[in-house]
Amino acid sequence: MNKYRQYYELFSVFFKIGAFTFGGGYAMISLIRNEVTQKRKWLDDEEFMDMLAIAQSLPGPISLNTALFVGNKRKGFKGSLFAGAGIIVPSFVVILLIALVFAQFKDNLVVKKVFLGIRPAVVALIAAPLFSLGKAANLNWQNLWIPVLVAVLVWKFSVSPVFIVLGTVMLGIAWFILSKRNPNQ
């Protein structure tokens, strides 16, 4: 019985996090940190920071990666399934309901007008964080060409981001091997 309770706890903690964080990203991380390190002591602070670095550098949503790691740490593979389900279920239910309803109202004149106002706002919300993200990624005049080249390739030449990611990873590995060979540089 106690065993099931631990699985349920994993599910419910991440369900709560999945249900109450809007817009994803960094608001979610502080909430996860609070639940996992302070309230429940499943991970200590250093472990959490290391885990976060990995969760951010792997593909996939950061919240899902974090949930999977914490679940795995608590109860192994099965634990990660329960924690992952907890993160996924709330947004699945909400969006499915919206998809069912929105399909009926999409051609309604009022809805059309409202979304005509919202769409440029969405683009602004995507573009605005670029400045602070650029600072966080240590962008400077030497490496500014990387984001500019990537943006132009994907936007103007419809290059798949898959190739961008693969190319970047290979560039990083090549750089690593070369700098190992010439430690002076």
């Binding site: 949503p61 919240s63 993160i87 979304f115 683009v123 590995i173």
Partner: protein
């Protein structure tokens, strides 16, 4: 048979998005858009922007939200039933999560080594600026005649961008833009 093929190509597309979606959130947008709008044309740019707007105002990561929504709408738009659509949205949501599950399970085994890995650091040094480029591309790809119909659209864009840089709440900004759209158009 036709439905099974649609399920299969949806599953593959979202598996790919989960596998190559680095940087979380907005960075995954250009990849989602490339797969869903450019390659498969399951939905229009207009509808895609609406989904991003819905995503910004509902809990959960954008990758899940768009998987759930597109899974439903791509199937029902092809003339299949609501139930088939719901199954489609479950398939897409699972497919986008599976790569994370596989990778995090493997990573968990090598965690200590990986968090100190110099090669990972070298790769991240290139990946971080590239991710900025992917986000910029996501914004640029949404600047279309359907989303920016006239000068009023650009006014909304400008005001929201500035307000967002001043740390205004994104949900509030979207709500206000919707109200503005209703009165302006």
């Amino acid at each position: 048979m036709e439905l099974l093929l649609l399920y299969l190509s949806l599953a593959l597309a979202f598996f790919k998005i989960g596998l190559f979606g680095f940087g979380g959130g907005y960075a995954m947008l250009s990849l989602i858009q490339h797969e869903i709008v450019v390659t498969h044309q399951w939905i229009s740019v207009e509808d895609f922007t609406n989904i991003v707007a819905i995503s910004q105002t509902t809990p959960g990561p954008i990758a899940f939200n768009s998987a759930t929504y597109i899974g439903y709408s791509a199937v029902t738009d092809s003339g299949f039933s609501h139930l088939a659509g719901i199954i489609g949205s479950a398939i897409c949501t699972l497919s986008v999560s599976v790569p994370s599950l596989i990778l995090m399970t493997i990573v968990f085994l090598f965690f200590k080594k990986l968090s100190k890995s110099q090669m990972l650091q070298a790769v991240l040094q290139f990946l971080r600026p590239a991710v900025i480029g992917l986000i910029a591309a996501a914004a640029l790809m949404l600047v279309t005649p359907d989303n920016f119909v006239d000068v009023k659209s650009w006014a909304i864009f400008g005001i929201v961008a500035i307000a967002s840089l001043k740390k205004a709440d994104p949900i509030l900004l979207i709500a206000l833009s919707g109200v503005a759209g209703f009165f302006l158009y």
